[in-house]
Subunit: 467 residues, 2 copies
């Protein structure tokens, strides 16, 4: 056993320093692609332990890869260079809520959905709602700056963070931001660290913004016989003075997949459906619902469904949540992307996806947060089929190029991680990428914190196939 | 004339390179404290000129101080180390609005209020509304991350920026972020630069987020016979499920000052008033107004005024805007602070201000964005009175300490600039400040971009008096 691993046991109880192959294997993957075996897994439970681990790792130049629940879709927690996986999930989950300040301070291990649950007891809400909220930790959400359907109206994780407690790559414990809604005291380290995918610091605590919970919600489902009409309808709605909380999109392949998986009564003959959630006061919802029905009729909707009960509405949202598992049944491998374009470019982006589908003879389905241009094109394939996976690689690269051509970005909410790193320069240019790297290097001179993520390594290419 | 100034004229027309004492003097101050004469003022009109100026300055190690309209309350544009003032105000003001994307791309010289005006023509709004919006440039707002009354509901400038075009201290032109609502492609350089007070890059363009304009607004004024009651009423409202667009506070001294300056019918016998603006659909406003009236009665309001007309409402908001000029009449010198505390701590902070008032025998008035804990305590004094100014210095220092004791921050929206720099370590600690400085140094190795701001210089102290 490496000497430094023995040293770890000096400040973390042996029971939380995992070295067996079985243990290490269960930390070798996340919800994305690829497997990498760490040398050791350290289950930390307090900030001093994190500080001690990082000081040792920095001294011995050992890579450290922080990890929450491992639900990441871009490889954030993968120990691509071996070394240490820092498991934050065993940290005592604490939620310290201050209703009169509309703030909450949480431990990194808290499941995101539980923050909202705690807030609701006081008539408040924690707005970010990534689809993984029930299994993902807030620490992971912060590292990746997670989005979610409500991002349309309420913004993403970063928009709700007031302050952080973090451990630097050199093991120093610092506070960033604070507990106030407004704070312009110096350079914004809080928003710098949120979304840095664990490359700048390890988050050991966070103070989040809460807001009054809207008293009522109204769900509407609209079906279209053309994808382009759905796209137009979304733009039309958002320029009509109405800002829905959610505006989710599903194409025909997704609708069919869900209906085959768990029938929810979705219109299988529709080219696309939009599921909308309005929130606010009941009086307002009535008015806005009427306006949206008018708009959708004008835009040539085939069907407008207003659920008759909460159960019926819940069923629609459940169907939306079932898209991922449902399409996973179609083929063994699912390559999920989240290239994002300006709202008005959604129809064009859908056209480009259609062309890729034909050009590379691949199964590509699309769903997601169309209201903010954040679609999730998924390529359904079979990783054992080397030849097909090579076509997937080419299609993914062209998909990114298409998004950039349309004024979009590589990733709307999943992050860069390992898979998109090779394409960073494509979007940022050499100097832009260098300016990012300077920050990383100034904080982590030995490059020990989550190496192999965000920043492309020399000659790195997207490789999904294994010869 | 310095050789480098001659060189400037090689790439900026001579007519825009100002060297006369008169010209330089008019760029030697802003809306805060202190006067510093630059060696030269360069009025840039395109990004290539900015790039050329910075390349020269970086080579010759000449300080460069970017400046918009000079309305800064913390000394952001002051050329404290001489060198170049980079006047961005003459840049051609362009506003490129894309209603279907709910985005707008603007030049740094555009007046913030004009962005909102352009948006309103499409039923949209640009939410940030600093009180200086009609005279301040968006470039300055971005550099300082300006707030404003609507920050309560809609957040500050940073929350509405999607992407930037900037010139680095070494003269490289880069794009950060983009045009999409969601973007997690790498480290967030956009939000890093917004609020960095011109120390990291010169902003030459920005893409901002627009939102649907609320169809209606409702103003309510509430008077209290005790400041503490007003504070309680604010917390009560915000935990009742209502999020007003604005919740502004004025203490008795401000009310009296305004009534002596431009009578608006404010209750001069009240200890404090809150002016609230609700926005949304008319139906909702009726309901929310009723709820707020109930809350205010429960909290012991002396008077609740519902304006009978738009004119009457406008008169109240005009009165709020008159506070600054009105209190400036009381004494020749006004030291404006914006220390910010968690919402629930406003009454405690008001008590601390009262103690300081007595302890140092000073005129201290308070008003501001109480809804988000961002008060503006103003010390009214006479800078010719050396002895008084020394008491002001001590009071300001204790005011900052009080804010920090209550879990607050040095600055909510005015920025650190020159005046608050000496107190940075008090809030951030040595390591926290060092981590900020590392970023600055990695981007600006020669320290030419806006030196003397944000980061304290060796042994720097707050000095308001001149012996």
């Amino acid at each position: 056993m490496e000497k430094w691993i023995e040293e770890l046991k000096g400040f973390v109880p042996e029971s939380r320093v995992l070295t067996s192959v079985a243990d290490r294997h269960s930390y070798s993957f996340d919800a994305s692609f690829g497997e990498h075996l760490p040398d050791v897994v350290v289950q930390v439970k307090e900030k001093q332990e994190v500080s001690d681990v990082l000081k040792l790792a920095n001294r011995c130049k050992i890579p450290v890869h922080p990890r929450g629940s491992g639900t990441c879709l871009s490889g954030g927690p993968l120990p691509v260079h071996g070394g240490i996986v820092l498991d934050m999930s065993q940290w005592p989950a604490s939620i310290d809520l201050r209703p009169r300040d509309l703030t909450v301070t949480v431990a990194p291990s808290v499941l995101t959905a539980n923050i909202n649950k705690a807030a609701e007891e006081h008539g408040l809400m924690y707005a970010p709602d990534p689809s993984s909220a029930h299994v993902a930790t807030i620490g992971g959400n912060l590292a990746e700056n997670s989005g979610g359907p409500r991002g349309l109206k309420y913004g993403v994780t970063k928009d709700h963070v007031l302050g952080l407690e973090v451990v630097t790559p050199e093991g120093e414990i610092i506070q960033t931001g604070g507990q106030t809604i407004k704070n312009v005291t110096g350079i914004d380290l809080t928003k710098l660290i949120v979304g840095s995918e664990g490359t700048l610091a390890v988050i050991v605590g966070a103070t989040l913004k809460l807001m009054p919970k809207p008293p009522a919600v109204q769900t509407i489902m609209v079906a279209f016989d053309e994808v382009r009409k759905a796209g137009e309808a979304i733009s039309q709605t958002l320029t009509s003075g109405i800002l829905p909380a959610k505006m989710e999109f599903m194409d025909q392949a997704c609708i069919t997949a869900v209906e085959n998986f768990q029938p929810a009564g979705l219109p299988v003959d529709a080219a696309a459906v939009i599921i909308i959630e309005l929130d606010g006061h009941p009086e307002t919802l009535g008015v806005e619902r009427g306006l949206i029905e008018e708009i959708m009729q004008d835009m040539g909707a085939e069907e407008i469904l207003i659920p008759k009960s909460e159960e019926e509405a819940a069923k629609l949202w459940h169907a939306r949540k079932q898209v991922s598992p449902a399409i996973a049944k179609i083929k063994p491998t699912k390559v999920s992307e989240d290239a994002t374009v300006p709202r008005s470019k959604i129809p064009d982006f859908m056209d480009r996806l259609q062309l890729l589908k034909e050009k590379y003879d691949l199964e590509i389905v699309a769903f997601g947060h169309a209201g903010d241009g954040n679609l999730h094109p998924n390529i359904l394939c079979d990783k054992r089929d080397v030849e097909e996976m090579k076509r997937v690689e080419m299609a993914v690269e062209e998909m990114f190029q298409a998004a950039l051509d349309l004024g979009g970005t590589l990733s709307g909410e999943h992050g860069i991680g390992t898979m998109k790193a090779p394409f960073m320069e494509l979007e940022l240019g050499e100097v832009g990428l260098d300016m990012m790297k300077r920050i990383k290097d100034s904080w982590d001179p030995n490059g020990i914190l989550n190496p192999g993520k965000v920043f492309p390594e020399k000659g790195q290419k997207l490789v999904l196939h294994h010869e």
